[in-house]
């Protein structure tokens, strides 16, 4: 490790760092704007100036930008050099000549990097007297507010949006001191990652529009470490609340999962919580009575409920009567996935590891719609794949623009085969639109020695890749998963370190799949056949998984329907006893993400009157008095099912204390409304709820910064660092892992032996019969609209596309259909679907692509053959 000298003191730094990183890695402060640990250096803002000396004897030195200076053995700088300090102060003074100083009305105020850096640089007095430049702002859609006057031209936004997120509709316009960041004209930002602008922008130019509707300063937000509930990747988030209601969601850095970023569904989907069930309408006593009278009980779990709640329900109804809450299709695919996971020698990379792939083959899933941050990770992988070109030129990885120029158009190879063309197509080498049933065959063709055409091209690229990666998902079906695993194995057989990444649709799909149980269809059968007259449904809307007629007959046949949920659904509507429970934001629990990473999340606020966390209601129903906390359930589960044992270490238990014997405070020091924190419902000052269940406290009492326990970080804050740039202070080295390891623990291990080929040949499946006007009906996930919870949020709802059936022009011709025409589809099991047609050549032949999870397409979650009217 090279040693550098900063203000006369020697420090060690890791290889390949720049001096700004060296400074921050060693816990020192140096202000900066344009550098970002997730984006590297460009040397634009000139704020990180230091004095750089040639060697020991050099007393003069010169002003240099720390972020552009490699940290080599013996590099000698001074942060405290008076001229360098003066210059840094000067930079802020210049920026402030134009900055509007509107902190009181700025949503960034209180967690603003510009405020922090201004204070750090010591600019206090304005010596220039001229007018400030002003701009016109743009409408950028329902997520992001634009206030250009606050811009300090650090260029981070455009770098994030274009270079990292691959967006095209956002750019730098104009020049000199009229530089402008925005779109060509007003309009909704097209990127699925636009919300990150609010975090990368060091000022209040881009702020969270949803949060502004019920704005609270960071110092008044109560926060807790949490996990995103809107897909199966398990991105880490920090939900913020005041008066017990959600105000915003920000990224919680996790170096193994989402890094510095989250997707817009994860950030803005929280608004569903405004429509959550209120307390007081609960029928807990009624439910108890029904359970006592029941003649056969089936419990239906949920992939969006915690592992603990699911286990509690399993215990309540008995293992044999427990259903995972997954559909038969999902269940089969999940079983195939778990089997594949445990019987291969391929890598099962984390989301962060996806970024190091250089050849990626996507089979049948749509990362953008289903697991958006996977789209982001693949973009990073493709961008970084040819990095060797830059390294050969001695360009360090952090020298962002130089790397871009050196790499130029070079990028990794991305291939995909799916029934529709997805957004990632824009960076793909080649894509194939194929019928769903053909995808496993396509994978097998690539793996075989007789590949032709595109399959042969892919095979050749995989065979010479440094880190090849196959991506598929549960929504592609069990057969595709097995074929994808076989393909990965065949690449490994050729001596390549091939990985397999499999998406799952919901936050805890893996948790319920590993817990085991019957599928939803089986639960319905048991009810209709009279084997059970009572159903206990946990956070699951069965209408999303059963086709409408089956759902209706289930509702009719079941005698007692006990439903626990946080939202009102078709299922809660039919409930005989409804027990409202808290949302994920006010619950504790463990989610298992797609790579089997167990991650603990914590409630932000204590449950409001009449509400309780789901597990406590099940405990009450079952009289399981041995459980005083969610942890107790996990302990019991781990004891009974050792596969879950590692999950115990995902976060410390309630008795954990810091070295100073303190809990972690959910409220920040400067929480200004302590006495008024519940003023929305009582003007008395009640005792702060005492949290006996977790190592966190609901008040400001306790430690603010637990750097050693990454899973308990309630917010990123550090003295002098109020913005999320404080994340630096929690990392072993900036941009790298958190102290104490990144949160989460993987449960499944790859076994290390090559599996036998799982499924040498696809089962014969007849395709659609054109004569009989048959067609594939293929559900497609959309980032906005397909996920159950987020689609209820106001901002997300604005972006839900219309429900349409998309067909290829030639398909349209064969079946005599026209754009805009209303068409009825009859599925094999007699379900009828009416949708308008949209003709587009981005889809495969003989398929109609329909949105999954929309009310108009209720119950269809797997590709099916349908007849057209």
């Amino acid at each position: 490790m090279p040693k550098v000298i900063i203000d006369g003191i020697e420090y060690e730094v890791a290889e390949g760092r720049n001096m700004l990183e060296a400074v921050i890695d060693n816990g020192l402060d140096l202000p900066y704007f344009c550098w970002h640990p997730g984006m590297g250096s460009v040397g634009a803002c000139r704020l990180c100036a230091v004095r750089l000396y040639k060697d020991e004897s050099d007393t003069k030195g010169k002003i240099a930008m720390a972020c552009m200076t490699p940290a080599k053995e013996g590099t000698r700088i001074s942060i405290k050099d008076p001229e360098a300090m003066e210059f840094r102060r000067f930079v802020i003074e210049w920026l402030m000549t134009n900055h509007p100083h509107d902190c009181p009305v700025c949503d960034e105020g209180g967690h603003c990097h510009l405020q922090d850096m201004t204070a750090m640089s010591g600019h206090v007095y304005r010596r220039f007297r001229f007018k400030k430049r002003t701009y016109t702002n743009q409408y950028l859609g329902p997520f992001i507010t634009h206030e250009m006057n606050r811009c300090i031209q650090c260029f981070r936004c455009v770098r994030f949006y274009r270079d990292l997120a691959g967006g095209r509709d956002f750019n730098t316009f104009g020049s000199r001191n009229r530089v402008y960041f925005g779109r060509q004209s007003d309009g909704v930002l097209e990127s699925e990652f636009s919300g990150n602008l609010a975090e990368v922008c060091p000022t209040g130019v881009f702020t969270d529009k949803t949060s502004a509707r019920h704005y609270t300063r960071k110092w008044d937000l109560r926060t807790a470490p949490s996990v995103c509930v809107h897909c199966g990747l398990g991105c880490n988030i920090i939900p913020g609340q005041r008066y017990g209601t959600m105000r915003r969601v920000e990224t919680r850095f996790n170096g193994d999962v989402n890094g510095y970023w989250i997707c817009d569904r994860g950030r803005f989907g929280y608004e569903f919580s405004y429509g959550a069930l209120k307390g007081g309408d609960g029928d807990i006593d009624e439910a108890k009575k029904l359970l006592n009278e029941a003649n056969g009980i089936v419990g239906v779990g949920s992939p969006r409920a915690s592992l603990e709640s699911n286990y509690a329900l399993q215990k309540l109804v008995g293992v044999g009567q427990f259903c995972t809450g997954l559909s038969a299709f999902e269940q089969e695919a999940a079983a195939a996935y778990i089997n594949v996971f445990q019987t291969g020698s391929r890598r099962m990379p984390s989301l962060a590891e996806v970024e190091s792939a250089d050849v990626v083959v996507i089979l049948g899933v749509d990362p953008t719609g289903e697991a958006p941050m996977l789209d982001f990770a693949i973009r990073q992988a493709m961008r970084k794949a040819p990095i060797e070109i830059a390294r050969k030129l001695n360009i360090p990885d952090w020298d962002a623009n130089a790397v871009i120029n050196a790499l130029h158009e070079a990028k990794g190879k991305l291939y995909m085969a799916a029934p529709w063309s997805m957004k990632l197509k824009e960076i793909a080498a080649e894509t194939a639109q194929v019928e769903p049933a053909m995808i496993p065959d396509f994978a097998r063709e690539i793996a075989s020695d007789q590949a032709n055409g595109l399959a042969a091209t892919i095979a050749a690229d995989l065979a010479k890749a440094r880190k090849p990666l196959i991506v598929t998902g549960l929504s592609a079906g069990a057969d595709t998963i097995r074929a994808a695993a076989d393909l990965a194995d065949s690449v490994i057989g050729k001596g390549r370190d091939c990985g397999l990444f499999v998406t799952v649709p919901e936050a805890n799909t893996m948790g319920v799949a590993m817990l085991g149980g019957a599928c939803v269809q089986e639960a319905a059968r048991k009810s209709e056949s009279g084997e059970a007259d009572t159903l206990v449904v946990l956070e699951n809307d069965l209408s999303r998984r059963l086709n409408p007629s089956d759902f209706d007959s289930l509702v009719k046949s079941v005698k007692n329907l006990i439903v626990l949920d946080c939202i009102a659904t078709e299922t809660t509507k039919a409930a005989s006893a409804l027990i409202p429970v808290t949302t994920v934001f006010d619950s504790e629990g463990t989610f298992i993400n797609n790579e089997s990473r167990a991650q603990r999340y914590f409630s932000v606020s204590p449950p409001k009157e009449g509400l309780a966390q789901a597990w406590t209601r099940i405990r009450d129903l079952g009289g399981f008095t041995q459980w005083s906390s969610c942890e107790d359930i996990l302990r019991e589960l781990a004891a009974g099912k050792p596969i879950f044992a590692p999950a115990l270490a995902a976060a410390p238990f309630a008795d954990w204390r810091t070295e100073a014997d303190q809990k972690i405070a959910r409220s920040p020091h400067r929480f200004s409304g302590r006495t008024a924190k519940d003023a929305n419902w009582t003007i008395n000052e009640p005792q702060t709820a005492n949290d006996t269940q977790t190592p966190l406290s609901y008040s400001m009492e306790g430690d603010q910064n637990p750097p050693a326990e990454s899973s308990l970080i309630p917010r990123f804050w550090w003295p002098g660092w109020n913005s999320n740039a404080a994340t630096n202070k929690f990392q072993i080295e900036v941009g790298g892992g958190l102290h104490g390891g990144n949160p989460g623990i993987r449960l499944l291990a790859v076994q290390g032996k090559l599996s036998e080929t799982q499924c040498p040949k696809s089962p014969e499946r007849p395709g659609p019969n054109e004569e009989a006007r048959e067609i594939w009906l293929v559900p497609r996930p959309y980032i906005y609209g397909s996920e159950e919870l987020s689609r209820r949020g106001r901002a997300v709802a604005e972006l839900i596309p219309p429900a349409e059936a998309i067909i290829h022009p030639q398909t349209a011709e064969i079946y005599g259909l026209e754009n805009g025409q209303m068409v009825e589809f009859y599925t094999k099991d007699g379900q009828k679907l009416s949708l308008p047609i949209r003709v587009e050549d981005s889809v495969a032949m003989r398929v109609a692509i329909i949105p999954v999870g929309f009310p108009e397409t209720r119950g269809i979650i797997a590709p099916d053959i349908a007849r057209i009217s």
């Binding site: 001191n177 030129l393 623009n401």
Partner: protein
């Protein structure tokens, strides 16, 4: 080539065209035909002759008489009197000394040495025959058929040729980097984005002798193994674009561009790219970005263009004047070339004195000539008998020097000539006003990437606006001085680093003049309107 007893050169530079030079040319041709002289007398269009104030202008050879401010109405008289009867039309003859630019190489002043400019005003720039008759394409033939690429590079290296755009990097070394770099495709780019006020030498070369540049590029392509060339011309230079494109077409027709040039196996073609007139695009990395269709913003180096330039491929970027020197070096040899100039600055340099000199124009002298020789010797000294005050070296990004510098020599060892502009001020001019102009230029051209330049150039203009409106104060000078120093030390690219140079260099020389503005609220030269109240100052 047919023999003509006389040639008439018509200045069709942009300024002249705007004042009706095309109509004048047509009228001349018609009149000559009417008089039946079209077999004896040839009308030739040339680029700008450097007679900015006196256009439209024509020069009649063999006498070399210049007529200035000629209109269509004068045509009949000129043809009748001069061409038929041999009597000069004295009322139209250009007064004062004939600008040397329109003299042939042999009879120019001893101090002037025309290498690159030798054909300017002599040949018809649209005629490749005339270029060839003057020895054109001999260098190409020599290089491509008798030399290996390595020999060409060695020759250029030995000649000591350096970049003429201002930075002065050794050309041979640049070529060598590109020649040695890996790449399926390599590029030669001619930087003709002459954007700095006061510079117009590149335009003259493109308008008056475009084949020279083409030849330089072909030889460069041969040396480094490039397949494709671009001439990046600033969009405002319409005549340059037209002449260059015409020359390219002819060269292509004659097989001097295209595949297997002169049987050497070299396949190379050139395209003209019109810039949008942003000064920053003259900076080579910003120029590349612009050529690639991106925002014209400077890029960090490394990677350096010779190995990772256009579209990530190895790329040579040379200034027009640099490339124009190449054929002469190949024909006459590195020894001949390296004997011209000084120890460190080899060859000739083209200067473009302008402003308050008698004969603004373009002059080529060996490196090492003094400032006095150029301004007083060639440009005729200060016009209207006024006294010399100062000269801005190289344009707004250069230093301001006064009287004391007149005997310094123009070369990299002494007074750096930059790109060659010499903006001369006479005693009646206001230095504050001049520097304000420079400041406005930079504030307008800053790309906006880095803070010191983006904010600093703007602040600078604001200060000058105040000062020249009688709203300054003494402390301002110190504050702006500090600002300019900081900009120079910390800006990301040359634009910001040089934006405050002229201002800083002007303070010690003309401090009194600044204080007159700031303290006494008075412009000694009477140029700045000092009577505006604060509110009216537009900032």
């Amino acid at each position: 080539m047919a023999f003509y007893r006389a040639h008439i050169l018509v200045d069709t530079g942009t300024a002249a065209v705007l004042k009706g030079a095309n109509a004048l040319r047509t009228a001349l041709v018609d009149e000559i035909k009417r008089k039946g002289l079209d077999k004896e007398i040839k009308v030739v269009e040339t680029g700008a002759l450097g007679l900015a104030g006196a256009v439209p202008a024509i020069v009649v050879y063999p006498e070399g008489v210049t007529y200035a401010n000629v209109t269509v109405d004068d045509v009949a008289e000129i043809v009748e009197e001069h061409l038929l009867k041999g009597r000069q039309v004295s009322r139209l003859v250009y007064k004062g000394d004939t600008p040397s630019v329109i003299k042939s190489a042999e009879n120019c002043r001893s101090a002037e040495m025309r290498v690159v400019l030798k054909n300017i005003g002599v040949i018809d720039p649209t005629s490749i025959d005339e270029y060839i008759a003057m020895g054109g394409y001999e260098a190409t033939a020599k290089a491509l058929t008798t030399m290996s690429p390595q020999e060409v590079i060695a020759e250029i290296k030995a000649s000591g040729l350096t970049g003429r755009g201002g930075a002065g990097f050794p050309t041979g070394l640049k070529w060598d980097f590109t020649a040695k770099a890996d790449g399926d495709q390599k590029y030669i780019i001619c930087n003709a984005d002459e954007g700095e006020p006061g510079n117009f030498k590149d335009r003259l070369i493109m308008e008056g002798d475009p084949h020279q540049i083409i030849e330089g590029m072909i030889i460069a392509a041969y040396a480094v193994g490039a397949q494709k060339g671009y001439i990046y011309i600033r969009g405002e230079y319409q005549q340059s674009v037209a002449n260059t494109e015409r020359a390219l077409d002819v060269a292509r027709e004659m097989g001097l561009l295209g595949s297997d040039i002169m049987g050497s196996g070299l396949s190379f073609d050139i395209e003209v790219f019109k810039g949008a007139g942003a000064y920053i695009c003259g900076e080579e990395t910003a120029l590349l970005a612009s050529l690639e269709g991106q925002r014209g913003e400077s890029r960090m180096k490394p990677p350096f263009p010779p190995t990772h330039g256009l579209f990530g491929m190895p790329t040579v970027i040379n200034n027009v004047e640099t490339l124009a020197n190449v054929p002469h070096i190949i024909v006459n040899g590195a020894d001949w070339y390296s004997n011209i100039g000084t120890q460190k600055s080899k060859g000739t340099k083209i200067f473009s004195p302008c402003g308050d000199v008698q004969y603004p124009g373009v002059y080529e002298v060996p490196f090492g000539s003094t400032l006095r020789e150029v301004i007083f010797g060639m440009a005729g000294g200060i016009k209207s008998g006024k006294k010399f005050k100062a000269v801005l070296m190289g344009g707004p990004s250069g230093v301001l020097v006064g009287e004391e510098a007149l005997d310094r020599s123009l070369c990299s060892e002494d007074l750096n000539p930059g790109a060659g502009a010499l903006i001369v001020l006479d005693e009646t001019k206001c230095v504050v006003d001049l520097i304000k102009n420079c400041a406005q230029f930079f504030a307008h051209e800053s790309c906006g990437q880095c803070t010191p330049c983006r904010e600093g150039t703007k602040r600078m203009v604001e200060f000058f606006n105040w000062w020249t409106a009688g709203a300054g104060s003494e402390q301002d000078l110190k504050l702006l001085d500090q600002l300019a120093t900081t900009m120079a030390l910390t800006s990301k690219c040359g634009l910001g680093q040089f934006a405050g140079v002229a201002f800083k260099s002007s303070i010690p020389l003309f401090e009194e003049e600044y204080l007159a503005h700031l303290v006494d609220k008075r412009c000694p030269a009477g140029i700045c309107e000092m009577d505006k109240v604060e509110e009216e100052v537009r900032v």
